[in-house]
Amino acid sequence: MAKLNYNDNFYEPSDELIAVNDLNFKGEEPIVEGEELIAIENVDLEYTGKTGDIKALENINFNIFPGEFVCVLGPSGCGKSTLLKILAGFIQPTSGSVKLDGEEIKGTDWHRGVVFQNPPLYEWFSVRDNVAFGPKMRGIPKEKYIPLTDEYLAKVGLSEFSDKKIYELSGGMKQRVSIARALINDPEILLMDEPFGALDALTRENVQDLTRKIWWDTGKTIFFITHDVEEALLLASRIIVLSKHPGRVIEDIRVNFSRQIVEDCAEDIKFTPEFYKYREKLLKLINSQPQR
């Protein structure tokens, strides 16, 4: 079990923030629940650029547990995408370690499914072939991956569109294809980088619901980046807030709204005072960051 010592790098809340601290914020206490899926320890990341080095992440420490829906919030440029890329294995941390099931993440592999904001779907393949691509390339036999593809197309509600070309799809549909494509590999964790940022409000709500349902039904662990506080509150079981430059964890809380939405069909939960309070608190935290 990794050490859970992220208290020492916590951003000290200002007086103003303490004022709303009567909410059951649990950020101060480490979250422990069984074996972690991903252990992030003392991760720093420095980009070497032409105009000097940029420290994107500093001393990141947290674990991700199986079945969690972790949303990462933070101002633009704080290193959210960088963190996701490290988890995906696209880049290695400058120092520190990231482990999946106790093993260091060394490069990309299909155990971690990635969904981007602008999903790179293969335009020359049909919807079906895009979804089937992973299993096919991994050498899974045809008689296995065909029904599997149908299953996942159905899961994201695209059965009727399976033979369409990518250019015939709307933004929301493309996003659903890329979710299906990531899920079909049965990844241990689904990494999503502002996947719905480019969608209109209605479509966005629609794919949010779909994502929540998939999380609930499959019990998949999801790591989800967004800069939309409301989106985080509506989806997450846990929210991590990163600070501006360099990105450090300044808040780590449990939230229950997503669960309530599925369990109690509490669809208008975002109009409750409780939701509102969380929203205000997170917004304040993100917007009132000390200049370093």
């Binding site: 299909w110 335009e123 020359w124």
Partner: protein
């Protein structure tokens, strides 16, 4: 890409209006007695010559010779350009190794190769195929490299996730990803090949549309020259149309 334009009567009227106007002006100059037979033929004369050439088989022979030369030279160029293009795109070391030579050879126009081609291969078919090859190989090569280079990096990142072997990567991502650009290169290449064959035939040949041009000039027969030019234009367009259709057939996703 192509704006869907309704092809009604007006469209076709507009489409043929300019050629028609040119023909009318041409004809009226002739009627006014302004055309001299050794500089500009009358429409009638041009028509008669066309019929004559069609009847005695020279029309077909000349076109046939030029077109088959283009096909031979072009396919040679295509295969070469695709292979070298892929090697350059896939292996940075090979790119460095070949870059300077390619950069220096690229600006030399096909016509500039004609003297050397004749010295090397004589005035037979080989020298023409060589010129056509030179004309076609660069557009296809450059567009292949460019096509691979402009494939979205995310496509590769994603492919890496599935640990797919290089052969599958080439088959499933690199070739389809670069195909639109390659098709553009093919169109430019065929266009260049056609231009090159005409140039090569004008300088040393006994058959072909280029030969018709130079032959017409030495006979002071502008009708033959213009017929030759029209053939070059019409067949150039037909080839381009075929390639455009092919592009549509091959690239169904754009």
């Amino acid at each position: 890409m192509n704006k869907p334009q309704k092809k009604d009567v007006f469209y076709w009227f507009l489409y043929f209006a300019l050629p028609l106007i040119i023909l009318i002006i041409w004809e009226s100059f002739d009627r006014a007695g302004k055309l001299k037979p050794y500089t500009m033929p009358s429409l009638e004369k041009l028509f008669d010559t066309t019929v004559e050439y069609a009847k005695n088989g020279q029309l077909l022979t000349n076109i046939g010779v030029s077109v088959s030369l283009v096909l031979e030279g072009f396919f040679l160029a295509l295969v070469t350009a695709l292979i070298i293009g892929m090697l350059v795109s896939l292996f940075p070391k090979f790119d460095t190794f070949t870059d300077l030579i390619i950069q220096i050879l690229k600006p030399i126009p096909p016509i500039a190769w004609i003297p050397l081609a004749i010295l090397w291969f004589g005035i037979g078919q080989e020298s023409k195929i060589f010129i056509i090859f030179i004309g076609a190989v660069f557009p296809v090569f450059l567009n292949t490299v460019d096509g691979v280079k402009t494939i979205d990096k995310k496509y590769f990142e994603l492919a890496k996730v599935y640990e797919i072997p290089k052969s599958e990567l080439i088959k499933n991502i690199i070739i389809p990803g670069a195909l639109p650009s390659i098709m553009t290169g093919i169109r430019l290449g065929v266009g260049n090949a056609w231009v090159s064959v005409v140039a090569a035939e004008m300088i040393g040949a006994t058959k072909g549309v280029g030969y018709m041009l130079s032959n017409g000039r030495s006979l002071s027969r502008p009708d033959i020259v213009i017929l030759g030019m029209l053939l070059v234009g019409v067949f150039g367009k037909i080839m381009d149309d075929i390639l455009r259709l092919l592009r549509k057939k091959v690239i169904t996703w754009l």
